[in-house]
Amino acid sequence: MAQAKTEAKPVVNRTQALVWLRQMMLIRRFEERAEMLYQKGNKIGGFFHQYSGQEPVAVGSIGVLREDDYIITAYRDHGHALARGMSARAGMSELLGKVTGCSRGKGGSMHFFDVEKGFLGGHAIVGSHVPLATGVAFALKYRGEDRVCVCYFGEGAINQGSVHEALNMAALWKLPVIYIVENNQYAMGTSLERSTAVLDLRLRGATAYGIPGITINGNDIELMAKTTREAANRARGGEGPTFIEAKTYRYKGHSISDPGKYRLREELDSAMKNDPIMVYQNVLKQRGWIDEETADKMRDEIKTEVEEAIAFAEHSEPPSLDQLYEDITVAPFIPQE
């Protein structure tokens, strides 16, 4: 199990650390409230996958990127979007299917997008966005830019062919892409042991393609940050891709409808005892960077921010019915009816 702890020597300054703590709290609260809206009042529909428990992976890695870098992920995307600076308003409005949503109510929970933040989406076909990330990196190299693309996927996706095709070409062409596998132990109800003949994912995703591979505790936010920074430096320096397996654990079911019968209550309880947000808060306390009172204040502010986002989303307009045909193509769209 991925224990949340952090390095003895801080890799960030106090201001940065507090921003990260706050972002993790925001992601957690955002999803808690969204879950309530889903369960009561039928305001959110469809598949809804929570990131709860995995927050340090997105926050730590995105935290060391430049504003002009790109990020792409799978359908468990709320955390990455918020970590990249998407507003809770835009995210909540999308969940409620409103025109003010980050994808104008056309994408929903699984398809968050934000072009201004270089956030290339939430993608819901397992593995399918990994070639896209590779193509983005291809474009960066083609233009001779020193930007990088970071691509997140679950350990279940390592079993998709498209992922391996992309890894091979990224290595072959030394593309500036960082693959972060969020190994939360389960792909829906299928544990790692039941889906891969080789348990060391580096062998499958890195060694097989001559890509540097590293397995880390993804719940150690500062280690996550340090490892990503090193990978980004390699990519910017023209040295090609890096494969990072970030060990983590998801607290909620695969999606909202999953009662999680495939895992033991004790396993979940013991993971939750090590909640990475509390752990990081304690680390920062020990460093003298935050006290109980400031942390409580932070939580209160976040509550307000999320409530305000919900109010904004509730008061926003849904797309009008004629917007069904909008944004299908750049050229005027002619329905073939």
């Binding site: 989406g121 076909i125 193509t329």
Partner: protein, 325 residues
């Protein structure tokens, strides 16, 4: 006007577009050092270098997705499938990512990409290598589907496809590559979504595209000998359909036959017949007839294969049916 082949016309289109726009590049299996499996990209590696003419491993799903990602980041890729039969292993990328990206992102991302390559029944290639997937792709909102039948259209249509801001499925026909015809030099653009009347007529409208145009024109000549004047319309773009040109013609002739190389059930002609009938049912003096490839997998044996294709006798018989002569 210079007389060049369909293959050379395609090469000219890509070369000219790559000369005018550095964002355009070509990627696919054997496009560079081998000069293209069908030699469409002949000489391009030499001219543009390995940065812009890129050989890939045999990974259609992977490089289709790489093209889409590059397009999202601002490039304008031309992705060659050795044949569209192999696009079947990349269909997730084309349908889920290329076609849906703009919509799913609420208009934030565009995917200006061309997927091109040979397609159709080329002779003795049997079931796996003879696919005609135009109906599959034309089904998808978000995709443009283009299929040139002549060298001039091949050039003008490919140039327009490369300049399009949306994903284009550009299907060439393997048997047309050596066909020669007059092709305007330099800037020659055929607009997307415009059909072309390849032979005017007044008694019946023959609607076709790609290699079936040749067979249809031959049938029209034979029909003329019998005193039947057939108007032959080359769709050129399958999606979006140029319905106006079709309706205009049918209002004049009152009869229509659709000739297509795909399978009949849920084929391109089925969609066209439905849309035409909804609008001008009262103008039709006979039901719309379709001449499609027979409903069987494509066999190796040449005689069997030939028997399933739209042929002059099959087209003529269908026309006799609708003109009641």
């Amino acid at each position: 006007m210079p007389l060049i082949s369909y293959r050379e016309a395609l090469n000219q289109a890509m070369t000219e577009e790559m000369e005018r726009d550095d964002r355009v590049f070509i990627m696919g299996e054997e496009v560079a050092q081998y000069d293209g499996a069908y030699k469409v990209s002949q000489g391009m590696l030499k001219k543009f270098g390995a940065r812009r003419v890129i050989d890939t491993p045999i990974s259609e799903e992977g490089f289709a997705g790489i093209g889409i990602g590059a397009a999202m980041a601002g490039l304008r890729p031309v992705i060659e499938f050795m044949t569209f039969s192999f696009s079947l292993v990349a269909i997730d990328q084309i349908v889920n990512n290329a076609a849906n990206m703009r919509y799913m992102s609420g208009g934030q991302f565009a995917v200006p990409i061309v997927f091109r390559g040979s397609s159709g029944m080329a002779g003795c290639l049997a079931a796996t290598h003879s696919h005609r997937l135009e109906a599959w792709y034309a089904h998808i909102p978000g995709l443009t589907v283009m299929m040139p039948a002549t060298p001039a259209d091949a050039k003008g249509m490919l140039k327009s496809a490369i300049r399009s801001d949306d994903p284009v499925i550009f299907m060439e026909h393997e048997v047309l590559y050596p066909e020669r015809g007059e092709v305007p030099a330099g800037e020659h653009l055929v607009p997307i979504g415009k059909a072309d009347i390849k032979r005017p007529g007044s008694d019946v409208t023959l609607i076709t595209y790609s290699r079936s145009l040749k067979t249809t024109l031959a049938a029209a000549t034979q029909l003329a000998d019998e005193g039947i004047s057939a108007e032959v319309i080359d769709l050129r773009t399958i999606r979006p359909l140029d319905l106006d040109t079709l309706l205009h013609s049918i209002i004049k002739t009152h009869r229509a036959v659709i000739i297509e190389e795909d399978w009949p059930y849920c084929g391109v002609g089925a969609g066209i017949a439905d849309r035409v009938t909804q609008r001008v049912f009262d103008e039709l003096d006979a039901p719309i007839r379709r001449v499609a490839t027979k409903d069987a997998p494509v066999p190796y044996n040449r005689a069997l294969e030939d028997s399933m294709l739209p042929s002059v006798p099959r087209i003529v018989a269908a026309v006799h049916d609708v003109v009641y002569r």
